[in-house]
Structure formats: C-alpha cells, structure tokens
Amino acid sequence: MAEMLLRIYAISKRFGGLLAVDKASFNVRPGRITALIGPNGAGKTTLFAIISGFLTPDEGRIVYDGADITGAAPHMLARRGIARTFQIVQPFAGLTVRENIAVGAHLARPNRVDALAAAGEVAYAVGLGTQLEQSAATLTVAGRKRLELARALATKPRLVLLDEVLAGLNPSEIRDMVPVIRKIADWGVTILMIEHVMQAVMTLAEQVLVLAEGRIIAEGSPQQVAADRQVIEAYLGHGAAARMISGAGHG
Amino acid sequence: MLSPVILVPALLNGLMTGAIYALIALGLTLIYGVLHIINFAHGTLLTAAMFAAFFAYALLGLDPYLAGLIIAPLFFLIGYGLQRFIIGPTAHGEDRNYLLVTLGLAIIIENLLLYVFRADTRTINLPYAFDVIEIGTAFLAVPRVIAFVAVLVVASALWIFMQWTDTGKAIRAVAKEKLGAELVGIDVAHIHAVTFGLGTACVAIAACLLIPTYYVNPTAGDAFVLIAFTIVVLGGMGSILGALVGGLFVGVVESFSSMFLGQSLGQIGIFVMFIVILLVRPSGMFGQQA
C-alpha cells in the first residue's frame, strides 16, 4: 500500500462556543483525487484553512509526507508543495492573468522571465491561454476559478486543496472544468477537493470523506458513501434513510 | 512628592482633562465603529469649532456654553455634509481612499484656517474662568468642572440615543452589518452621514468646553487628535464606554507622567503607549475585532 501523503490525526478547532472541527481524522493517498463532502457548516473550509496553515488547530496533528506540519505558516507549506484555492476567489485584480499566475510560478523560478513564461504554459493547460494579457478583474466567474487553479498549479505542488472550485459555475462550465481537474490528477498531483456538486464528486473522486458537524462520519468510494445511512441522514435529516428504504419498498 | 495632597489634585485634574479627551475620542470612535474609517480630519474640525467658539465670544459676546447650543448643531450639519457629499462619494468605499480623503480634508481645513486667521494664538477671557471649587485640598477650575459634567451628560445622552431611538438603532445596525441594514431598507449613505455629523458635533461641544481655558490657533486641534487616537485604540474601536473610560484613563496618566517626567516626555509616554497598544491589541479593551 502506498505511503499516505497526508495524515490528519484528531484535529479539533473551536471558535468561541462553536466546535467547528471535532477530532477529525483521515488519510489522503498520493496521486488520487479525494473528495471532502458534507452539509453546509460541517467544517470543511475550516479544515482546509487548518491544513494550509491559515488557522492553527486546538488539538491534533497533521503529518504531510512524513513530517509534522501542524501550525506551520501558509507560505512554508506552499514551499513544501501544498497549494490551495479559496472558496471565494481571490484574484490579484490589478494584475493581468499572466502576472497573476507568475506569482505562483515564482515559487520554483526566481527569474522573472522564466516565471512569466511558465505562467503562459500553465494558463494554456487550464484553458486561459487566450486571456493571458487581460486584466484579472475582467474575467468571468468561471475564468476566475480557472485562474485560482492556475496560480496554485504554477507553484508545482504535490498536493492541491480545491475549495469548491465548481461553485457558481453553470452546468456547461462544470462540464468544461471537470476534465481540467482530471488532467491535473493525471500529472501526478494529489487532489483533495471540497465539493457540493455531486455529479463531479461521483465522476472524479476515487475516495470520498464525509464531514458532518465537524466529524468524519463516513469514508470510502463514492458508491459506498452514497449508500451510507449516516450520510443520507446528515444531508436529509434524521430518519430519512429509513424513509427512503421503506419508500423504495413501496415503489 | 507622593503625598495625597499632591496626588489627589493631580488625579482630579487628570480626570477633568481626560473627560475632554474622552469626548473627542467619542466622536472618533463613533465614526470608526460605524463607517470603519479613521477620520484624520477630526483634529482640524476640532480646531475649526474652537475658532467658531472663540469668535462667538469675541464678536458676539456669546458665552461658550451657550454658543455650544448653536455651534454643535451647525457642526453636525457640516459633518453630515462632508461625509454625504465629499468623503463618501470620492472614496468609492475603499479603506485606503478614506485615509487619503480625510487627510486631504484635514490639510484643507487647517491651512484655510491658517490663511484666514494667521498663526496667532488667541484666548478668550471669561469673567468666571478663574473661579475655583474647593474639594478637600484640590482647587478645581470651574470651567473644567463644568466640562467634566457636560461630557458625562453628553456621553449618556449619546448612549440613550443609540439604544432607544430609531436612528440610533439604525446606526447600530449599519455598524454591525451594513449589507443587512441596506437590505431592510436603511439608507446607509444617510446613516453614515448622520454618524459623521454626530462625531463632528462631539468635537464641536468639546471645543466649546475647551475654549474657556485653552488657547486656539490653527494647529490647536492636532495635539488632541493623536491623543484621541490613542484613546480610541485603547478603549476599543467603536465602543462608547471604551472612549469614556479610556479618555479618563489617559487624562490621569498624562497628569501623573507630566508631574514626574515633564511635559514633553509625558507626551512621548502617550505615544509609546499608543504604539504598544496598536501592536499588542488593536481592538482595545472593549472594542470590536480589527
């Protein structure tokens, strides 16, 4: 069995009286796409913020590639190969698409000319090639999502945390984005994605984790998780699983 | 040096000075709490109000405390107009722009005052300015005692206004959640302007309370502004109680440190405290998170 790239051990995070993450533990296999799903408010983005260093956990440890990275600063984690996108896109609005991506590209390339060139390559890979010299502020939502992705990819990461990269996209935009995500995984980049768009989760993810009320309640392949009683109840409410089963009996 | 005979008057004087600081800081913290902008024009508005109070007495013979009844509403309108028609529109809602625009206003006001009134220092001579009230061993100047009481009254009135009136509630709503307030039909631009007006009215009242015992020249307000900033960060951005408590505290600190260290170092002490608070806990004792 391949060595786990990311291990989360009993991470907890409290905000005042609210326990946002409650002893969450899971592992992420390298080279695969793992999806983190769960109802709204389950604590998924908080978990991402913790993994990427923007928040420190109150309890627990994070081990990445064999090293304990709990509490490390975001820029150090980026240098170690962990990249993330933000749920609410954060473009460098005053810069062009190329300049945006170049900021990420600079992580591995100190030279400005190299970084700008590499930015161009990454842009083409995600489908932004024709908009390289445009101002980032003029991009559509779908374009900005691709920009988020491109910037993160330019840092040459081993692990990418995608926070609802499909949110706010219409069905055809989602259809266009899914192959891009798959292409990234084909390059060998490990992907951990928070996603609500179930169709994408089912087609893309090899492993699914379900977070509800700060706790991991299920783990497995997409099919296994979809049939899991606890998961159904977390989304649809207590007793829903039983109702669904008895409803199926009648149909 | 440390006997109560000396300390008690120093304490009381510090409280009275602090009260005026508190009122100035109150205006500033109100503006910050609601508009989330640091009003760099605050000090110059104070200076302008002091000139108004000065001339009300010098030209019209109006007692400053009475003049306040006219000057305060007048400056409320000025503040309202400034926010509604200049600051709000030009800043386009961006923090950095607010800083620059209020700075620009400060420069304009101060230098117009300089141009029109020259740099001369002026004072008024109220007949009762040197009357004193005796409390134990302390001789307290009547104007300063009046100021202290007035500040408490104003602060209470403001608090009541914020708690019980519709406008006050609207202000608090906008301070907490601007978008939500807009969605329920509150005219945010108007509320912003009202708040700025109230903050300016506060300094106008402070000016009238100051003029019996303090001089006025185009830069008079500057000395108070950085102290007001210190109080606002100390007491918490947006907290009325914080401005009051912080103001009194700073007044006492200044009184004691001037006594032991002399005037200039006393001032430095305040700035150092300011820097330390900014670095350690910008949200202050009572304030909202930065």
């Binding site: 992580l107 010299e133 101002s135 | 640091i38 950095r96 722009n97 620059l100 141009y115 900033f229």
Partner: protein, 326 residues
C-alpha cells in the same frame, strides 16, 4: 520585462537644464522638486507597489537629515560619509518600525496610524534632545567645497539630486523586474492569496520598508546639505510625510515615474498659488489637500493613469495594469 531606457532618457534630458538656464530661481525650484520626488520614490515603493500606506515617512527623512548634520557638526565627519551613514540610519529606523508593525500583522489604517505615531515620537524627541540643538535647531557650518558636499552654485546640487533620483528609478525598475517586486505587488493586491502561493509576506514587506526608508533618508541627507539648517519641525514634520505621499498619489501611485511627475505638479501648483495669493501661508497647502481629494475621487491612478488611459490599447506594454485596486 521592463526596460531601463526611459530612465536614461529622462535623466539625460533633465541633466541639460542647467545648461539651458542659469536662473537660481528655476534651479532652486527644481532641486526642491527632485528632493520631494526622491522622498516620494521611497514612499511609493512601500505604498504604491506594496500597498502599505505610511503616514510617517518623516521618520526616515528626518533621521537621514539629522544623522548627516550631527555627524558633521558634532564629530567632524565628512559630509559624503554622512550621506552614506544617514541612509543606513534611515534604513535602520525602517527595520525597527517595519519589524514591529509587520510582526504584529498591522495592516491598513492601523499601519498608517502607527507610522504616524513613530514619526511624532521622533519629532518630540528631536525637539528636546540636546544633541539636535533642541528648540534652536542644528546649523551646518558653511564650507563651500565639493569635498564638504557644499557648492557655490546650484547646478552641482541639482545634478546630485538628479543622480539620486535616477538611482532610485533604477532601483525601483530593477525591483519591478524581479521576483521580489512581483511578490510585493501580490501582497498589495491580496495578502492572503499571496501567502497561499508561498510568499513570505513579513520578509517581503520588511525588505520593502527598508529600501523605502533608505531612499527617503537619502532625501533627508540631501536636504540637510542643501539648506544647512534643521529643526524638529523641519526634519520630522508632517509636511514631508504629506509631500512624500502626495507626490506619488498625484503622479500615479505604484508607477515608476509617478513620484517625479507628481512632485513637479504639486510644486508648480504650490508656486503658482503663492504667486496668486502673494505668499500668505496656508493657501498653497490647502490646495494640496484639495488636489489629494480630487485625485482620489476622480483619478485614483494619478496623472500617469490619466495619461495611460489616453494611449491606445495596442501600444500598451504587455503588463500594463488596467485597474488599480485599493
């Protein structure tokens, strides 16, 4: 990658001025303009490119000025060394203020406030400390020899000021073309996104602060040599904090030539106002305030922004920022 050619052209053209006119009035005006431009170059690096608006750049200007002056007056050190040491001293103050402010994560208005406070503290200290001459001020003895960094005519001063400005332009352009510059601008646009991309925001901001402080300190050192008199209100006064930020904002915040352009505009405006009003103090500065508000409200990218908006799209360089975000 941006070219250095425009810098050489501009400097070369400006260098010709003393050959075209011998008027002391004109040269004096230009020297002061270059001085403001230099101070503004410093501010612009931290504020325009980095997005951290300092309201207390007087702290660096005054330190450069006083260190240069005191070294000469009290210790007999050569003025040229004084310049170098003054710049280093300014950079040191930059390290202190930057390390304190950025380590504690001060951003936006809080940062502006704290820089204001630091400058004020220095001003008060300078106004009472014996070494600066306290209330009386510091006077550098007249010694009109080049070795003492003093000259009979204005022209050498002008060329030195121009040289310093030219150097600062080269430094800034170099930063624009570097990874450091890309990181700095990213921090201005969105600090958290920058951190997620591997930018050590503390170090980058601190480095920008140090270079910014050094450049503005150089302006202070030059001031001391040119005017030969300092006191606390001159060295650490709000006038220079304001001029240092006004010039870049009017000229084009975050652009290479913004400070120079802006300095020219505000000095010309100031002089014309003085002509019209007959020298009564205050009106020219009031106009500055008006200008600041007008620029923020109407032309946030400054004059450079207005000019570049006139240039047709095809001629714009590939990385022209179309949209300045606060």
């Amino acid at each position: 990658m941006k070219t250095y050619l425009p810098i050489f052209v501009v400097v070369a053209v400006l260098a010709l001025v003393p050959f075209v006119t011998a008027s002391n009035v004109v040269l004096n005006f230009l020297v002061v303009t270059l001085l403001i431009a230099l101070a503004g170059q410093g501010w612009n690096l931290l504020g325009g490119y980095g997005g951290q608006y300092s309201f207390g750049h007087a702290a660096f200007f005054g330190t450069g000025a006083y260190v240069t002056a005191i070294l000469q007056v009290q210790y007999g050190i050569n003025a040229w060394f004084g310049l170098l040491i003054g710049i280093a001293a300014g950079a040191l103050v930059g390290i202190v203020i930057g390390a304190l402010s950025f380590r504690w994560g001060l951003r936006g208005s809080y940062f502006s406030l704290v820089t204001l406070a630091f400058a004020e503290v220095l001003r008060i200290v300078a106004s009472v400390a014996p070494i600066t001459g306290a209330g009386v001020g510091t006077l550098i003895k007249l010694d009109l020899r080049p070795e003492a960094f003093q000259f009979q005519s204005r022209a050498p001063f002008y060329w030195i000021a121009l040289g310093l400005v030219g150097l600062s332009l080269i430094v800034v352009r170099g930063i624009e073309n570097s990874r450091f510059g890309a990181y700095l601008v990213a921090i201005r646009e969105n600090e958290d996104a920058a951190r997620a991309l591997g930018v050590d925001t503390f170090s980058v901001k601190l480095a920008a602060m140090i270079v910014s402080a050094a450049i503005t300190a150089a302006a202070g050192c030059f001031y001391a040599q040119y005017f030969l008199f300092l006191d606390a209100a001159i060295a650490y006064g709000t006038w220079i904090s304001i001029d240092a930020l006004l010039a870049p904002i009017v000229g084009g915040v975050g652009t290479l030539f913004g400070p120079l352009l802006g300095a020219l505009i505000i000095k010309m405006l100031g002089e014309s106002t003085k002509l019209v009003t007959g020298g009564a103090p205050g009106l020219d500065l009031a106009i500055y305030g008006l200008l600041l508000i007008a620029v923020v409200g109407l032309a946030p990218r400054g004059i450079a922004g207005l000019l570049s908006a006139l240039v047709p799209r095809r001629f714009r360089p590939p990385s022209d920022p179309e949209h300045h975000h606060g």
